[in-house]
């Protein structure tokens, strides 16, 4: 097998260049590729188009790449509480393409599953439908209108998993799964950072969420902060 294991995030992103399009896994701050984001800040690549459900917070996640103005365009469904994001968006420094969350997920799936387009009812009759093909189909006994949406193309997909093996197989933990599996399938080059990297053979083949065929580079990340965005608890 060609060796997919790289030393660290720096090596994983060594050929990531200015003006590339990236997919980044995670929902809020949950399941984001922390090590690769830090490495991108260090590397200073600029003009990035980032496909990611959210944009991090001011001082964590993709917010770090916003602070350093490395992102040219965000394609997201919700950009949350992020003062620097807001400033760059309102000043026109940052392009923002807001799309429905299911559309985002399904356009990634389409890329991984070799479907050039998908149809979704999300956004029909709204400004999201502007300039897009609208077509009627019958589904579940009901005729309604659907929008045609294209599979995403991306140079790199950067995902975070809980466990991975040397063959590139990945297992996610709890809701840190979110967008990671579809993005892993969708990158021209897919980089996976994992909390635990194990030899091939240690993961149960029935438990693998992302087969190794989709993963080109893998490394064990370090110093995961796994910050909680909204700590909600109840008393014992």
């Amino acid at each position: 097998m060609i060796n997919k294991v790289v030393k660290n995030a720096d090596e994983a992103i060594k050929d990531l260049k200015d003006n590339m399009t990236l997919m980044l896994g995670g929902f809020g701050l949950c399941g984001i590729p922390e090590n690769c984001i830090n490495a991108m800040v260090k590397k200073g690549v600029k003009g990035l188009t980032c496909i990611s459900n959210n944009a991090g917070v001011d001082d964590f996640g993709l917010g770090l790449l916003l602070q350093t103005k490395q992102i040219k365009k965000m394609i997201s469904s919700y950009v949350g509480e992020n003062a620097e994001f807001e400033r760059q968006m309102l000043s026109g420094e940052l392009e923002v393409d807001l799309i429905p969350q299911g559309t985002l997920a399904t356009r990634c799936l389409a890329a991984g599953y070799g479907m050039p387009v998908i149809y979704t009812p999300a956004g029909v009759g709204t400004e999201i439908a502007n300039g897009k093909e609208v077509r009627k189909f019958k589904f579940n006994g009901e005729e309604k209108e659907y929008l045609m949406e294209h599979a995403f193309e991306s140079d790199f997909a950067i995902v975070k998993a809980w466990k991975g093996d040397t063959a590139g197989n990945l297992i996610y933990r709890s809701t840190a799964r979110n967008f990671n599996p579809m993005m892993a399938m969708a990158g021209k080059i897919t980089i996976a950072e994992v909390e635990q990297l194990v030899p091939a053979g240690e993961l149960n083949p029935d438990h693998i969420h992302t087969p190794g065929i989709y993963v080109h580079r893998i490394f064990q990340g370090e110093k995961y902060e796994k910050r909680i965005e909204q700590r909600t608890v109840r008393k014992k």
């Binding site: 949950c30 807001e86 429905p100 299911g102 009812p121 608890v233 109840r234």
Partner: protein, 218 residues
């Protein structure tokens, strides 16, 4: 006039045993607190949970286990985890029986606006457009008038739409309304102590009142 908990309590009566339900942020989240004894529902969270449980006990938060509002949560024994493509797949395929969400405006033909105010910072629609475009059964939980005293039940939405002709039922601080297929807010129940006159004053869209309108029992 109902407070937020009152609205949530009234909506909870619409929930049937065995339903899979998606609750939006705000008042909808409160609905979970009022689901009657003997009625068991499974809450879907569109970031990839079925069988979402309550907040964790202090000290037991897990950064890897959050809901669509990015809050730390727990899982019920019946829970399953899945990716975002499957999550919106089950929403589009109408496996989620009921969606409860908030709104800025609803029109008399069932259009909803709840994601964007021109000129203000736009945070995004998240999963709202997918949910309203797909769900067979959507209940809106909202205040009937805004802070300026203007009705949010309109002939036509003034804000950019989230979805068209999708809302079937609305519960506000003043009453419960069905949106008729041919258009119009049909008043079903009055909130305790609220008069027909108050409701008329707070409804800008076509209001339909037929016969005696009962006061809500919560």
């Amino acid at each position: 006039m109902l407070d937020k908990n009152g609205i949530a309590k009234r909506i909870a009566r619409e929930v049937k045993d065995g339903m899979y339900v998606n609750l939006g942020i705000g008042i909808p989240t409160l609905v979970a607190n009022f689901i009657p004894e003997g009625i068991n529902v499974e809450l879907q969270s569109e970031n990839g949970i079925l069988g979402m449980g309550p907040f964790p006990y202090e000290g037991e938060e897990d950064a890897d286990l959050i809901n669509a509002g990015k809050q730390t949560v727990t899982l019920l024994p019946s829970a399953s985890i899945f990716d975002s493509a499957m999550s919106f797949g089950m929403i589009r395929a109408q496996k989620v029986a009921l969606t409860i969400l908030g709104a800025m405006e609803v029109s008399e033909n069932g259009d909803i606006a709840n994601w964007k105010i021109p000129g203000k910072m736009v945070k995004g629609m998240g999963g709202a457009m997918d949910l309203v475009a797909s769900a067979k059964n959507i209940i809106v939980a909202m205040q009937q008038v805004n802070k300026a005293g203007e009705s949010k039940l309109l002939p036509k939405c003034s804000l950019p739409l989230t979805g068209v002709k999708c809302i079937k039922k609305i519960v506000t601080e003043l009453g419960v309304y069905d949106i008729l297929p041919e258009g119009g807010f049909k008043l079903i129940e009055r909130a305790p102590g609220i008069s027909i006159e108050q409701i008329k004053n707070a409804t800008a869209g076509k209001l339909i009142i037929e016969g005696e309108i009962p006061e809500m029992v919560i």
